[in-house]
């Protein structure tokens, strides 16, 4: 336990010293979200919400609301990639020296979770300047789940694809998954069949329900999102254990 706490303390300290990364975590939400609200015309747009209701809103609100999960997913994915990938080799040495794999892995995941919360807090703070969701709780929960899911995907990508490949994937996947495949600006809010199997499906429906509906209709979407999160977390924990564990 003392070892894990020391590793966590060092892990947080290490990330705090990545000045450029901290600047990125704060400025990207401002640029992505505020800019989207600023440049989009408030043209009327009808969308289909979870639960089957249709809603008349504006492209401006829709664009702003959908940029929040794109931003959170993109940044959390990058954090997952860098937090895990950059420290993997050194963490293995720590295990050789005497740490148990869990004492190295849990602090890394704690750092990743905290970074996701920072991204989420900044993104929601920026959103609140221009847009007020009909119901904050599902909106926050949906974005948090997007952050955690993409944080895990980023970490997995770092292990399998390396830093460069992981960065490419993180540029591509959240944008395709959240920004194109299920974006109510392009479709009517009911995603195409193929889009429902992507990781952003459940949490995006959940947050859109919160953004535009004061009553909750996204129980099934919440369950799908939690299943994705549980599966990815398990895969990540097993993979990291295999990667850092000493072979004896």
């Amino acid at each position: 336990m003392v070892r894990a706490l020391t590793a966590a303390r060092m892990g947080f300290r290490e990330q705090r010293r990545h000045t450029l990364l901290l600047v990125l975590l704060v400025t990207v939400p401002f640029l992505f979200i505020s800019w989207s609200f600023a440049i989009t015309e408030p043209l009327p747009r009808q969308i289909l919400l979870p639960g089957g209701d249709t809603l008349l809103t504006t492209m401006k609100d829709l664009h702003g609301a959908i940029m929040v999960p794109i931003t959170v997913g993109f940044l959390a994915g990058l954090m997952g990639l860098f937090v895990v990938q950059s420290a993997l080799e050194s963490d293995r040495r720590l295990v050789v020296a005497g740490f148990r794999p869990g004492e190295v892995i849990l602090p890394r995941l704690a750092v990743l979770g905290a970074a996701t919360l920072v991204v989420l807090a900044v993104s929601l703070g920026v959103t609140a300047i221009d847009f007020t969701p009909a119901s904050w709780a599902p909106f926050i929960a949906g974005n948090l789940l997007i952050g955690l899911i993409y944080g895990a995907i980023g970490a997995l990508a770092g292990v399998f694809l390396g830093r460069l490949g992981g960065v490419y994937l993180m540029f591509f996947l959240p944008m395709m998954d959240i920004g194109v495949a299920r974006n109510p600006m392009f479709f009517d809010g009911a995603p195409q069949g193929w889009a429902t199997v992507l990781p952003g499906y459940g949490p995006t429906r959940l947050l859109l329900d919160g953004a535009f509906s004061s009553s909750f209709h996204a129980g099934e979407d919440l369950a799908i999102a939690l299943l994705w999160l549980a599966g990815l977390s398990l895969a990540l924990a097993l993979l990291l254990r295999r990667e850092v564990a000493a072979e004896r």
Binding site: V2, R3, T6, A7, M10, R13, E14, Q15, R17, H18, S86, A87, E89, S90, R92, R93, L94, V95, V96, A97, G98, F99, A246, E247, R248
Partner: protein, 219 residues
Amino acid sequence: MDNVDQTRASSNDNPNALNLDADPVLRIAGIEKSFRRGFWPRRREIKVLRGIGLEIGPGELIGLVGENGSGKSTLMKIIVGLLDRDAGRIELSGSLGYCPQIPLLWEKLTIDEHFELFARAYDLGKEEGTRSADELLKELRFTRYRGYRIEELSGGTRQKLNLALALMHTPDLLLLDEPYSGFLGTGDERRRRNRPTDANPESGRCSDCGRGRTGLVGR
């Protein structure tokens, strides 16, 4: 690498330092390792280690010498557990210190923070860890950099830390993989390094590893 021509050498001038009758600190037998690289049609299997066997007793120093790609670092990594082996047996008794060929450090942490982390890994108390770190910083002459982050250090100073982290808990078995790459010290240090061995079985620390590019030191 087919096998190791094992020549036992006393780790200093004191004949009492080497006890050939004592149980070995490390015993390995039949170690095999192959790497599979590339995709069809350029898929290749590279056999690196074929039936390696080795015993290291207390106080012994063994140098592994070989061409590039002969498997010295691979053997070290297999012994410490950083690489899986295809076949063979490893019996290790006692604590292990490992100095990898490429320093595995955290760029944003300071030298002192590295010592703190590894003191925890080795279960050293706060006082013991600090004392050990102070001694090594002094011995390897990089005390003035203790508050520096790794990203601010030269390659040689990184390598000094890399070595110090392997030594700080006075391990029973010390594995040094090219411990002096990029490491230029004072004239005295360079002269000392040209001596065949300079291991100190009393402290369990091997300040020098002879001329072998890769060394294993048993205590």
